[in-house]
């Protein structure tokens, strides 16, 4: 038994030292955390609106056999084979879910559970069977290790080290995500809101569904090294879900989700520093805490406001609902 349940809080060690003594480490970890959360959050907004949150969960888990197989076939941990393995796993996951749903009486949520747990299990078995030849750390795949980011190879451009490879890669993917979002905003909006209308406008909803799924696989595979396959789902859901409690407009939802991502990265890092804990875990705990605060205290839709509003207007609302009934 430890004497103290939590380590003593030391402001200097938690907040100052990382930026003064270890700036080069801290900045890359926080930037990577932000890029992962923001990119996942951006695509996550659309995933949530399309009620595909569980599909994101499924893909993040079925990546495991995908990247393991890619590794076994190529014997390398290069980005490209990993990406291809992950995307293939994503496509197989979605195709299997659809196949089960359409050809049996199994409902979509159960189909998702069947597909991702069995694929994930295959991955776990593969890793343990080929443990000698697989240079994949199951723990790292599951939980990620963003703390290693500063130790990765530096990208050198024109003789200058511009940053660790995973960070630069994630930044590139974030820029591509923003570019795609700007280019296809209206298509994403209308296919998410009303697939029937989209089709009647000549915008193929199926194409965007698959495109989004493919890009989701890319985002998940580039994020998993840092936050792990399990916590990717937190970064996919929390920024968008929290933002949606605060605003009614999609553009504002997207901006807010980026803002929350920065908050998770910074506060999550400091929480992990204080507790000497997993940084990805810290980020997700912060994400959960921020969501809870917003859920309770949101200015218009928060639990608290609902409660206050209800107790103040009880008489009035029952009267108005009566009036509505007589009117109809």
């Amino acid at each position: 038994m430890r004497e103290n349940f939590l380590p003593a809080f030391d402001f200097h060690r938690t907040f100052v030292e990382p930026w003064s003594a270890y700036f080069d480490n801290t900045i890359w970890i926080v930037v990577m955390g932000f890029l992962v959360a923001a990119t996942c959050g951006l695509i996550g907004c659309f995933i949530i609106l399309r009620r595909m949150a569980l599909v994101g969960d499924a893909i993040s888990h079925s990546l495991l056999p995908g990247i393991t197989l890619a590794f076994l076939l190529t014997q390398s941990r290069d980005t490209l084979p990993m990406m291809i393995g992950a995307i293939a796993a994503g496509v197989v996951t979605v195709a299997l879910i659809e196949a089960i749903r359409q050809s049996s009486r199994i409902k979509p949520d159960a189909a998702i559970g069947i597909v991702f747990s069995s694929l994930f299990a295959i991955g776990v078995v593969l890793i343990s069977v080929f443990a000698d030849s697989v240079d994949l750390d199951a723990e790292c795949v599951l939980y990620g290790e963003i703390g290693w980011i500063p130790l990765e190879d530096q990208v050198v451009l024109g003789g200058h080290e511009i940053g660790p490879l995973p960070v630069i890669r994630m930044a590139a993917i974030a820029i591509i995500a923003i570019g795609l979002l700007l280019a296809f905003y209206k298509e994403l909006l209308v296919t998410s809101f009303d697939a029937g209308l989209a089709a009647s406008l000549g915008i193929n909803p199926g194409r965007f569904q698959y495109g989004l799924t493919l890009f989701l696989s890319v985002v998940i595979v580039s994020s998993f090294e840092s936050v792990g396959v399990i916590l990717v789902i937190a970064m996919l859901i929390f920024p968008g879900a929290t933002a949606m409690l605060l605003t009614d407009r999609l553009p504002r939802t997207l901006w807010l989700s980026a803002l929350f991502s920065a908050l998770y990265a910074v506060l999550g890092f400091h929480l992990a520093t204080w507790l000497d804990a997993s940084i990805a875990g810290g980020m997700s705990v912060v994400a959960g805490a921020v969501f809870t605060l917003v859920w309770i205290f949101a200015p218009r839709r928060g639990l608290l406001m609902k409660y206050v509003f209800k107790s103040h207007t009880n008489v009035g609302s029952s009267q108005s609902s009566q009036a509505e009934m007589t009117a109809s």
Binding site: A183, L197, A199, S200, R249, L250
Partner: protein, 277 residues
């Protein structure tokens, strides 16, 4: 520019290609046919009420026309061409419950979506698109609610927003799936007025409708559907008890029978008046 476009559209429709032509259409959900051997030619400028019992394939027909469902056999032509090539000429009003009203968009955003088909890829709605959307909202008397998030609108208001969006599509053929469900009387009257105005502009409307009592008042043509076409033609010719009995089988409730006989009497009254004139 805009005028020239409208004129060319008017010209091409003057060539009297029917807005909707369906030949021997069969649509099946996982091998179970829902629509069977549908033959249909809808003349320009008509307002067709699609009537039939639950599960008759009314919504399926609308979705099949828009290419949302695979066609097992037969073909559908919209203005003489496959749907995909006449996309901008077709406006669509889906069933209200088919979308998530908690979606983070306001009424104006929804109406603007009606312009997307004309924009093409990579282009954003322009200022004039926004003006058109606003004008459409005004037409359905909803401009005061343009910035309101859509879940904060009543059922009738939501339906008006959908109608405004269809207006923003500036189409020649409108497909509407139960636009009168769950709306208040005022909205129903407002909607039917706009539909009549569209018809008077030479547009063609195909409207899925569930209320047999109002159907003969609203539509000049009726399509009675129950997997097959039971009857299709001018309302006064096909909207009779025998046809409805065939379409609905034993499923005509007493209430709708009473309503029907009332509607029929009224129709007969109209024809007598016509004769006496």
């Amino acid at each position: 520019m805009q005028e020239a476009k409208t004129q060319s559209i008017a010209k091409s429709s003057a060539k009297s290609l029917p807005p909707l032509e369906i030949h021997d259409l069969t649509v099946a959900y996982s091998k179970r046919p829902v629509l069977y051997g549908i033959d249909l030619e809808v003349p320009q400028g008509s307002m067709v009420g699609v009537v039939g019992p639950n599960g008759a394939g009314k919504s399926t027909l609308i979705k099949a026309i828009m290419g949302l469902l695979p066609v097992a056999s037969g073909w559908i032509k919209v203005f003489g061409k496959p749907f995909q090539t006449s996309v901008t000429r077709v406006g669509y009003v889906p069933q209200r419950e088919s979308v998530d009203w908690d979606f983070p968009v306001n009424a104006l955003d929804v109406v603007l979506m009606g312009r997307y088909g004309r924009l093409g890829p990579l282009r954003r709605p322009s200022k004039s698109d926004k003006e058109i959307a606003m004008a459409c909202l005004e037409k359905v008397n909803m401009h005061a609610y343009a910035k309101r998030q859509i879940s904060n609108l009543s059922g009738g208001q939501q339906q008006r927003v959908f109608l405004a969006r269809a207006l923003a599509q500036e189409s020649d053929l409108y497909l509407m799936d139960e636009p009168f469900v769950g709306v208040d009387a005022a909205t129903e009257a407002a909607i039917i007025e706009i539909l009549r105005e569209l018809q008077s502009q030479g547009k063609t409307l195909i409207v899925v409708h569930h209320d047999l009592t109002t159907a003969p008042d609203y539509f000049d043509r009726i399509l009675l559907l129950n997997m097959r076409v039971t009857a299709f033609g001018l309302t006064k010719e096909v909207f009779n008890f025998e046809n409805l009995q065939t379409a609905y089988g034993g499923r005509l409730s007493i209430l709708s029978e009473v309503a029907l006989s009332r509607a029929q009497k009224k129709l007969e009254g109209d024809t007598h008046e016509n004769i006496s004139e």
